[in-house]
């Protein structure tokens, strides 16, 4: 069983990334279940997508992950990465974008929220657990692609590059091409290449 959690802020595109993974799993002949956050939280709240792939022919019952069961977490935003840490399996990998999205609550508060502070606290908690943290310089990669909408592909590519997905680059490209609108295929393939480079 491969359990992947994708997390971010409503509107960042976790749903599409989950779809791409499901599509890739289908082409491998695995059973898949995914689950999405839909509703109020999509308006700038915390959103989570769960992806469960039965890569060894096992049956997948529940669409949601249990805590401590995600081999891979892909976070689109650092504070959202920190929020879902309890889901990371021992030895799992957490891939997170570095760029923050400041919630209104943080702007109103006296102490604004700083990415590096959160990231180093995550690092400290993961130390010695066998789990790994991969921080993606998403700003640089997005600048190369020229469109923030490609963040989901950039992060998928980074997870692939970190060796956390049992998929080949070709399989990922096929799944991407099948899931995104035709006019965005090229941009997304470029984003994948940028992340893999």
């Amino acid at each position: 069983m491969i359990n992947v959690m994708l997390t971010g802020v409503g509107g960042q595109g976790t749903v599409l990334a989950a779809k791409v993974l499901a599509q890739a799993a289908l082409s491998k002949g695995w059973q898949v279940r995914t689950a999405e956050t839909i509703g109020m939280a999509q308006r700038g709240g915390s959103v989570i997508s769960h992806v469960r792939m039965g890569n060894e022919g096992e049956e997948v019952h529940a669409p949601l992950l249990a805590k401590a069961s995600a081999q891979l977490i892909i976070a689109f935003e650092p504070s959202e990465a920190a929020r879902v840490l309890p889901y990371l399996a021992p030895g799992g990998v957490l891939v997170t974008a570095r760029t923050t999205i400041q919630p209104v609550t943080a702007a109103l508060a006296k102490e604004p929220y700083v990415a590096d502070a959160v990231i180093s606290r995550i690092e400290a908690l993961l130390e010695g657990t066998g789990s790994r943290l991969v921080v993606v310089d998403d700003e640089k990669l997005i600048a190369q692609v020229g469109n923030r909408k490609a963040l989901n592909t950039v992060l998928l590519g980074s997870a692939l590059a970190a060796g956390c997905l049992p998929l080949s680059v070709e399989e990922m490209k096929d799944a991407l091409s099948a899931c995104v609108k035709p006019r965005f295929v090229e941009m997304n393939l470029a984003a994948l290449d940028a992340a893999l480079a």
Partner: protein, 672 residues
């Protein structure tokens, strides 16, 4: 056939179409909305032939329309969220008495948590109250199968049938093989047959009540024995020892899937600690009402206790308590006075073994089940080693479920509640009305939709929220009780048509001094931009003349109607003042489209030369695109820091540029 990755709700749409549904009508509401949207999409693509699909004005209208079509023999599907059934309940109660003709299925989605709802009500309970059979899927695949047999069940007994998934089933996706095209079943040639039975009258109701009671007995039997339904109540035994199970686990809905995952986790943890999990028997109840008592009695045979795992209400637990009483009575009768009767202990929420509200989770269920399954073994453990081993199992599960290691970090994170989008026109509406009210004592009655989010800081502009359309009428009650305060009610355009009209008529007729702010953003935004009577777009692809809200207000007798653009602060505030000062019912029509419908304008920029770092733009309107950087420096902000605008989020609505007292927020495209 094509294999597609479908979300539960999308799959249920395919299932209904494959079952030949002819009429689909509903009102949007999370987590139910995607079903109707999928039917509409397939219809527009030409894949779903012969179907009529519509968003009706509200749930009551949708169900009554479906009832009419069913009377004529069409297969019909009605959809709503759990609270939507409250609106349609008047129709449902009587429809069950007169009975149905064409298969009549009600798709009602429940929302444990609740994640996007006002209540944690349980449609299984509603079904038993209305005396209507209900099917409760654990997975999208099972829901797909249920949707198809629901039509057959409805036609076999002339009863409405409810299919009630919960959020996690509605919004879970998996792969389905679905038909490429579907054809609706034609309405039988004889069509609607006139008959006194269709007219609800006290005499007819008495007769109908008998018919209902008789069919419920038969349906309960079918649920236990007919393979078409019995498959939804699967039973299996598990555990790591081979004795006869003495513990039973009964689960309903998505909890049945959670339990299966949880049991695997418990068994893994036990194996790792060298502990054996005793044999247990599991049953999913996918047909909770009428309760499949026969099947449950077979499941309970020989068990000493059953733990019930479900969400929302204790529906299955109640049924098992009844069954336990029957089992004890029956055995007391047959065994005589001298032998102790068979006692089945029912564990669940009443006994504190399961949480009494909110969503269940796999981890929490795993811990609770492990404690139940191993409690006897622990009490009887021969030595410290075996006790320690069991404690190790509990500790592993406890650690995962509680995530204590991460609690401190978690508590330090900024909270991220949902907010109005950057550029949302409602932000302007709320802000302008607050300014217009100034220091006058006032109550702002909110309603259901994105604009409920106006309650968040810093806008803090929603004082009440009850149910669809209630803002308008609650304001009238407040006006009667507190005439010295101003009463402003907010209502969205979709809610206005769904259930605002009666409230407005009431205000005019009874002369209540309120101001109704109609936030017209040309869509039903919260549930994903569905059309409504005011947009003129229908799901069948036809364009109609939109119903004009201002015309409706005028026709209902509202004499003071002000109109303004909510993103023009000055205009909006002046209009709001006039409407609020008017004595008697007045309306304020605030018209600007939801940002999901239109292209954004260029982002605003911050003039670092003049920004003083006063934060007024943040503390007044709280747009999520505006952040504060304490490290930024400028000639006027000095050490205070400055605001910044996240260009990837800013929608260019220019509301903030009207709020900044120093002109430091510059309209996009104005510079250079």
């Amino acid at each position: 056939m094509t294999t597609k990755l479908l979300m539960g709700n999308e799959a249920f749409a395919h299932a209904a179409l494959e079952a030949g549904v002819r009429v689909v009508a509903g009102y949007p509401g999370t987590p139910s909305s995607e079903l109707v949207e999928t039917v509409a999409k397939l219809h527009a693509e030409g894949a779903a032939q012969g179907v009529h699909v519509e968003w009706s004005t509200n749930e009551k209208a949708a169900l009554e329309l479906a009832a009419g079509a069913s009377h004529a023999g069409a297969r019909v599907l009605f959809t709503c969220k759990q609270v939507g059934l409250n609106v349609a309940s008047d129709a449902l109660m009587s429809l069950n008495y007169v009975g149905t003709n064409g298969g009549t299925v009600l798709f009602v989605a429940d929302d444990p948590g609740p994640i996007s709802s006002q209540t944690e009500q349980d449609t299984r309970r509603f079904a038993s109250f209305a005396k209507v059979p209900v099917l409760d899927p654990a997975t999208p695949d099972q829901g797909f199968a249920m949707m198809q047999v629901a039509f057959d069940l409805s036609e076999r007994y002339h009863t409405p049938v409810i299919v009630r998934p919960t959020t996690r089933v509605c919004h879970a996706s998996t792969f389905f093989d679905v038909a490429d095209t579907t054809e609706a079943r034609p309405v039988p040639e004889e069509g609607f047959q006139k008959d006194p039975k269709w007219v609800i009258f006290p005499r007819r109701a008495y007769q109908g009540h008998g018919e209902i009671n008789e069919r419920l007995v038969k349906i309960a039997d079918d649920f236990s024995t007919d393979p078409a339904f019995e498959q939804f109540n699967p039973v299996f035994t598990g555990g790591m020892t081979r004795e006869m199970p003495q513990i039973g686990i009964m689960a309903g809905g998505v909890s049945a899937a959670y339990v299966r995952e949880a049991l695997a986790i418990v068994e893994d943890a036990a194996s790792a600690a060298g502990v054996l999990i005793p044999a247990y028997r599991f049953m999913q109840v996918g047909t909770p009402y009428p309760f499949p008592e026969k099947a449950a009695a077979v499941f309970a045979r020989g068990l000493r206790s059953v733990v019930v795992v479900e969400e929302l209400d204790s529906v299955l637990e109640d049924e098992m308590l009844k069954l336990a009483a029957k089992i004890a009575l029956d055995s007391a009768k047959t065994l005589g006075e001298d032998i102790a009767p068979a006692l089945l202990e029912v564990l669940g929420r009443y006994t504190g073994h399961m949480p009494d509200r909110g969503e269940n989770t796999i981890d929490d269920i795993a811990l609770r089940l492990a404690k139940l399954l191993l409690s006897e073994r622990y009490a009887q453990a021969a030595d410290d080693d075996s006790r320690n081993a069991i404690e190790a199992v509990f500790a592993t599960l406890e650690e995962a479920a509680s995530g204590t290691r991460f609690a401190e970090l978690n508590a330090s994170l900024p909270v991220r509640p949902p907010v109005l989008c950057p550029g949302c026109p409602h932000r302007g509406s709320f802000y302008a009305i607050k300014r217009a009210l100034g220091k006058q004592p006032a109550v702002m009655c909110g309603d259901i939709g994105c604009y409920t989010l106006g309650n968040a800081q810093p806008l803090d502009a929603v004082d009440t929220c009850l149910c669809m359309g209630a803002g308008i009428t609650m304001a009238q009650g407040l006006a009667v009780a507190e005439p010295h305060k101003k009463q402003v009610a907010f209502v969205g355009d979709s809610t206005f048509f769904a259930s605002g009209l009666t409230g407005i008529a009431n205000a005019v007729y009874n002369g209540h001094d309120i101001t109704v702010a109609v936030l017209d953003n040309a869509t039903t935004a919260m549930t994903g931009s569905q059309p409504h009577p005011g947009t003129g777009v229908t799901l069948m692809g036809e364009k109609r003349k939109p119903i004009d809200i201002e015309g409706v207000l005028r026709a209902l007798g509202v004499e003071c109607i002000e109109r303004a653009n909510p993103l023009d602060l000055r205009e909006c505030e002046a209009a709001a003042k006039r409407a609020i000062e008017f004595e008697g019912p007045s309306a304020l029509l605030l018209v600007s489209p939801c940002i999901q419908l239109v292209k954004p304008s260029p982002a605003v920029t911050v003039d670092t030369e003049t920004c003083t770092g006063c934060k007024k733009c943040i503390t007044e309107i709280g747009c999520p695109a505006i952040g504060f950087d304490p490290a930024a420096r400028g000639p006027r902000s000095k050490e205070r820091g400055q605001v910044f605008v996240d260009a990837s989020q800013c929608n260019g609505c220019n509301l903030c540029t009207q709020v900044c007292p120093f002109g430091s927020l510059i309209e996009g495209g104005c510079r250079d």
